[in-house]
Symmetry: C2
Subunit: 145 residues, 2 copies
DNA sequence: GGGTAATAGTTGTTTTTGTAACCAACAATA
DNA sequence: TATTGTTGGTTACAAAAACAACTATTACCC
């Protein structure tokens, strides 16, 4: 298609990053959605608990930069499904400790395996060095550098 | 924080890409939102018309992979603001040609300039070679490779 | 030509998200 | 020990996205 203006939208980072993020999330999303009815924030919270064990909503927020209302709602959904338990902190009764139940652990382990395979497939398209550089650059762009 | 399980969430591409995409979109979003009250899909449609000139909703969809209902509503909003005009195709009366008005062009040029500056700032963090590689990899991941 | 399928785009309904206001528990200060 | 400010987390309401069903027009094909 003939161009009227030469701005390069396809190389504009916010656009390109979004397209890559969406496309690369799609197949994984299908799994956690169809298999467990989870939302994006749900699996993220689940993974945080699976990886780090018992933690509070606040700690999850600090680590992931997910907004606290989203976390609050994800925790509700996961608790309804009995994937996690909530226990008040006796020293500070405002916060509560979240922890996966055995059922939650099982879901985590299943999805974790799928995530690993999936990431390996994405990664296999590039060389080791390219992949390392990509991660560094993305972390920097994400403000996690 | 001590880990219970060693899955590397921060390097899981779908997660990392999303974080980078969100973070890198934020500052630009503030501009098109506060200055013109536009939504994400709105500026994308606007940019397509600014770059390629007159085109149909379908063509925009093919090029951007934005869903047709999102495009339909973005076009409505842009038309209400008199940023574009819609004219039926006489050969195929199902489709209509979209084209920016002078007002729409002005908004496009303003945002285009900001996008260029913004992208330049993001890009300045890396070397020329790193940037080239990043684009290639992202396009591949986005299925635009 | 008449019937069926395909296509461009729209609309309606339900989910999710964003934003701000809110509660309850704690901290700090006077 | 009142007072004021913070903090962890929730809720309410408005805005936006997802999904499916729909209209109108064109294409196919017997």
């Amino acid at each position: 298609m003939e161009k009227k203006d030469d701005f390069d939208l396809e190389n504009f980072l916010p656009f390109l990053l979004n397209q890559a993020a969406e496309e690369s999330s799609l197949a994984f999303q299908k799994v956690y959605k169809s298999r467990y009815g989870l939302l994006r924030t749900d699996w993220r919270v689940l993974f945080h608990l699976g990886i780090y064990g018992r933690m509070t909503a606040k700690e999850i927020g600090q680590r992931s930069k997910i907004h606290k209302t989203k976390i609050s709602r994800a925790v509700q959904r996961l608790a309804e499904r009995r994937y996690l338990t909530r226990t008040r902190d006796e020293n500070d009764r405002r916060s509560e400790h979240l922890e996966l139940t055995p059922a939650g652990e099982a879901v985590y382990r299943d999805l974790r395996g799928i995530a690993e395979d999936y990431d390996a497939r994405l990664t296999a398209q590039f060389t080791r060095g390219e992949n390392a550089l990509l991660r560094v650059m993305l972390r920097r762009l994400a403000g996690m550098g």
